[in-house]
Amino acid sequence: MAEEKKPEFWRWEETNWVSPEIKWQDGEFITLGIDVGSVSSQAVVMVDGEFYAYSNMRTGSDSPDSARNALAFALEKTDLTEDNIHYCIGTGYGRVNVPMADRSVTEIACHARGANFIYGPQVRTVLDVGGQDIKAIRCDAKGKVTNFLMNDKCAAGTGRGMEVFADLLSVPIGDVGERSFQVDKEPIAVSSICVVYAKSEATGLLRKGLSVNEVLAAYCSAMADRIYALLERVGVEPEFAITGGMAKNRGVIDRLKRKIGLEPMKTKWDTQLAGAAGAALFGHALCKKGKGKGK
């Protein structure tokens, strides 16, 4: 019997998009933001500060290629080339390895700016839960950072922690949230903060007779606690918005919002784009100051 390829439950969908309305040739400034994270990378092309095209994909193992791949994927459905871009800003964990960047800006600044754009200027607290870090950011009406706290040392509460769990329980990562609510009674959160120990605990819970959905609920609950602990230290001022991949996990977010007592803001845009969007907007601001490259 042929050996089956083990399904990769952690693998989420990679996407790209082009605006059906905007004609980039009519725009004054075309700017590019590339956010290379340790798990995912995004490229956002803006025409005069509006979304024109973007991509969201796995970073892979090599940072310079990640930036190039993200850009190529974003431009795939367009007739735009790198030469048409007036300014490029790199950000994220791998921002030193964005070869086409004119400058790099920290991901904290980019996330705040990006959240301000995709959610609106009322946002004052941004929670970014990415692949390998959790950031709690306070910002002003212009999307400028006023305070922040970050955990990038421990996997608990991060996307990577969630990927490990999805794999352990053989649940596609996109289904985790929904399934965690398909339980009769909300179970107690797993007691271990550490993902490695939480895995052992989860295996024990399954043996005790808990269903997969109940174990997912227990883990999401613990992750919400973990994220909340960080957020509390910076303080949550309305309006509150969430960026990064974890924003798509209802299992964690709904439990988190119950603890905060605030409804997070809504957006039609992919929450993983915030960093790259902020970077593209910083590029746009620099172009308006005359720093952009001539067409």
Binding site: S61, A155, C194, V195, V196, Y197, G204
Partner: protein, 258 residues
């Protein structure tokens, strides 16, 4: 007097029989999911090894993360006390004891009588316990018992940035993709782990003689890295270090049981 010490750990359950200050029997089984069963089996194996009956025992000390499952014990010995007693038993000049098990890392400062003066513990983070090296062994596709020797065959130090086991797995995979030699990666893994454990030990102070017990003491790569990080020539390790805490519990049961 004959006493037994049972250490129900995260990974293994160990029993040691001590007769008039000498170890006369040992038993070890995987703890698995049924702690009480593992304790029963480990106990029976040790009794058989010693050639004695349960009724010959004056007292039984119970210790370890699964201590509450040790119905056989009449003397409960907390982990820190067991490790200090163990170190003192094997090395009367022990003043700093390190116990790195599968899921916990502990350090104790003790006096000339083997009494605990101060201690530090990590039970929250896998990166400070044997679980870290196990996970890295999987990432490197190298059996656990080869990880240490592999590390020792390298003399090229490379930095390891990740503090977390999960992130370190990704970092190791990245290093493999970048064609880094496995032996250098293994060395980096052991150095990183030693650095963390020593940070913990420094919280209570480093005083010779330094004793290491627990299963991770079998790893020569880790021991060497620890010696280097601590700046000492020698770390004392008893024979069969994984049984040390159980021996400590047996010794405490003999003194405290009356």
């Amino acid at each position: 007097m004959i006493t037994a010490g049972i250490d129900c750990g995260a990974k293994n359950t160990k029993t040691v029989i001590v007769k008039d200050g000498r170890i006369v029997g040992r038993g070890i089984v995987l703890t698995g999911f049924d702690q009480a069963q593992a304790v029963k089996e480990s106990f029976e194996l040790a009794l058989k090894d010693a050639g004695i009956a349960r009724s010959d025992l004056a007292h039984v000390g119970g210790t370890g993360s699964g201590a509450k499952s040790i119905a056989e014990a009449d003397v409960k010995v907390n982990d820190i006390k067991a490790m200090a007693a163990a170190a003192h038993y094997f090395f009367p000049n022990a003043r700093t004891v390190v116990d790195v098990g599968a899921e916990e890392g502990r350090a104790a400062k003790c006096d000339e009588k083997g009494r605990v003066v101060d201690f530090a513990i990590n039970e929250k983070c896998a990166a400070g316990a044997g679980a870290f090296i196990e996970a890295m062994g999987r990432a490197l596709e190298t059996p656990l018992d080869q990880m240490g020797p592999l590390a020792l065959s390298s003399n090229h130090a490379i930095p390891m940035n990740a503090q977390c086991t999960i992130f370190a797995e990704s970092e190791v995979i990245g290093l493999i993709h970048a064609k880094t030699e496995k032996k250098d990666i293994s060395k980096a893994i052991h150095d990183a782990m030693a650095s963390r454990i020593v940070s913990m030990i420094r919280r209570i102070g480093v005083n010779p003689d330094i004793v290491m017990i627990g299963g991770v003491a079998y790893n020569p790569g880790f021991v060497t890295a620890m010696q280097r990080e601590l700046g000492v020539k020698k770390i004392h390790i008893p024979d069969m270090p994984e049984f040390a805490a159980a021996a400590g519990a047996a010794v405490v049961a003999a003194t405290d049981g009356n």
